[in-house]
């Protein structure tokens, strides 16, 4: 177990910086994790991505395919990579409070 310290708050995360308890996630936590990654402010596009990921996780228990994120938000692939420089998994899914996906991510 590990922690993220930001704005004087301490967030408990797993070794990889993903929340251990996805249920404690809220918008404020998302803002803090993003800030920790160097994303100063979450704009509308960030939120559109986060909401899709969160929604998919709550319904299906896993992160959505990037295909679904693009389709539902209408954003281009490259735009998503720019919005979350750490990528859809280590960036967006982590901000959305998901556990770390398996595999090479």
């Amino acid at each position: 177990m590990s922690t993220i310290e930001i704005e004087g708050k301490t967030i408990e995360v797993g070794g990889d910086g993903f929340l251990i308890e996805p249920d404690i996630w809220d918008k404020e936590l998302a803002r803090l994790i993003a800030k920790y990654d160097g994303i100063e402010e979450l704009n509308e596009k960030h939120w559109a991505i986060i909401n899709i990921i969160r929604d998919n996780y709550e319904k299906k228990g896993m992160a959505p395919m990037i295909r679904v994120i693009c389709k539902e938000t209408g954003l281009k692939l490259r735009e998503i990579y720019q919005l979350f420089p750490l990528g859809p998994a280590r960036g967006a899914c982590r901000v959305a409070g998901l556990p770390k996906p398996d595999g090479c991510v």
Binding site: S2, G14, G15, D16, G17, F18, D37, G38, M62, A63, M65, I66, R67, V68, C70, L77, P85, L86, G87, P88, A89, R90, K100, P101, D102, G103, C104, V105
Partner: protein
């Protein structure tokens, strides 16, 4: 960690005892403690922690061997530095053999007498795997592959939907509505594979490779039955699991009646299928090549004609350990870059002596050792910075992920790309 039991000890020792394996026995016994391997290992270099010296990792396994498999060790264990297989030692083994080794093999090349350190470490992992001590997050990735057929547990319909999407993108780019990404078509020349992170999160390399196949007028197909090039059981080193996964690839190739298997850009995938695969399943694989070799061949024979002017930024190359050190594939990726980019610069050291990105050996999947993984990558970050390159190309999706993460952490400000993306960017497709 679950407590050790007598049964577990037996399972672990079986690995050492079954080995009337003269190779293992000589590698377990021949270290002369010269210390030369220390500076080859990025864990020791980055941390200065003497526990991380490769010879010490070898000794973890050989001390157990001495304790249970030699007469003096059985009678006077202290005399020969023998160790019990108890909870403390197992914890230490897990921490060092899984948690402090990327199986990069660099130490092997530097060992003064040629001890196959990595092989011994793998044997130690095999013992731990048999006893049930694979780190949880690594085991989760193996389990996902075993139960779902791919290591990210992507359902078939999601996979197909993504391939269709990439096909549309390809048609747009090529301005040809007949361009395809063939799927489930038997009797093709090539059965192509993917790393599941491509369809799941990073599909640009799929359309890039499809563009290359299009330009080369290749006969190829993907298959829903088995497309996962990875074999994470190679990292957990559980022989039963790695056999199941390798066998699946073999069977799919038979089923699809493809002439050859082409392995996507994946260092350990190349190793686990092409070089270890036949050992796992006890029979030869049909012709199996990496996509790097295939693309280099296309360029050499003139089947594709890249234009270097289309890639003008400075590009450097990261060599995946499994491709260069264990596979001997060193020239092909350089040949490709020299023909597809204007400014190619090497890092120092490179090729056979290259440093691991820090994400090998299953480290990317193991959350338990995340901080270490990022720390040891400082060496790679420095190497990249010194080249002054704007793009780092690497023929391995696992390396791509690690490099992308250190790109942010160490503020490198570069782009990380697969070879397929670089090559695709250098191709102009002429329509008749």
């Amino acid at each position: 960690m679950e407590k050790i039991t007598k049964d577990k000890i037996e399972c672990g020792l079986e690995v050492l005892k079954r080995l009337q394996d003269s190779k293992l026995i000589s590698h377990l016994n021949s270290c002369v403690h010269c210390g030369l391997c220390a500076d080859s290992c990025l864990y020791y270099l980055a941390t200065g922690d003497e526990r991380m010296i490769p010879a010490g990792k070898v000794d973890m396994v050989s001390a157990i061997y001495r304790r249970y498999c030699t007469i003096t060790g059985k009678v006077f264990p202290a005399l020969v530095g023998a160790r019990e297989l108890d909870d403390t030692n197992i914890r230490e083994m897990v921490d060092l053999l899984y948690g402090a080794c990327t199986m990069c093999g660099r130490c092997v090349k530097h060992c003064s007498i040629g001890v196959d350190i990595e092989y011994v470490i793998r044997t130690g992992r095999e013992m731990l795997a048999k006893m049930g001590y694979v780190p949880e997050s690594l085991q989760a990735t193996v389990d996902a592959a075993l139960t779902s057929g791919n290591n990210m547990a992507i359902p078939d319909e999601d996979f197909l939907d993504t391939i269709e999407w990439m096909e549309e993108e390809l048609q747009d780019e090529l301005n040809d509505p007949t361009a395809t990404i063939p799927i489930n078509q038997p009797g093709k020349n090539i059965l192509y594979t993917l790393n599941p992170r491509e369809p799941k999160f990073f599909p640009l390399s799929i359309s890039a490779m499809a563009k290359i196949f299009y330009a080369a007028k290749e006969s190829w197909t993907l298959s829903t039955g088995m497309y996962d090039v990875t074999n994470y059981a190679y990292f957990s080193s559980h022989p039963g699991h790695s056999r199941i996964i390798a066998q699946r690839m073999y069977d799919e190739l038979q089923k699809m009646q493809a002439k050859k298997l082409v392995l996507a850009e994946c260092g350990h995938g190349a190793r686990a299928n092409r070089w270890e695969g036949p050992n796992y399943i006890g029979r030869e694989f049909p012709e199996t090549v990496t996509s790097v070799e295939l693309i280099a061949g296309y360029i050499k024979s003139g089947r594709i004609r890249p234009d270097r002017e289309l890639n003008r930024e400075v590009v450097t190359l990261h060599d995946p350990c499994n491709l260069v050190r264990s596979g001997g594939i060193v020239k092909e990726q350089r040949y490709i870059l020299k023909n597809t980019v204007k400014n190619f610069v090497e890092m120092t050291p490179h090729g056979m002596d290259n440093f691991c990105c820090g994400g090998g050996g299953g480290q990317l999947a193991m959350s338990e050792y995340n901080d270490r993984r990022i720390k040891i990558a400082g060496i790679k970050a420095e190497q990249i910075k010194k080249t002054g390159a704007a793009i780092v190309a690497t023929p391995c999706h696992n390396c791509v992920d690690q490099l992308s993460q250190i790109n942010v952490t160490y503020r490198l400000n570069v782009q990380i790309k697969t070879m397929a993306e670089i090559v695709a960017d250098s191709l102009i497709i002429e329509h008749p």
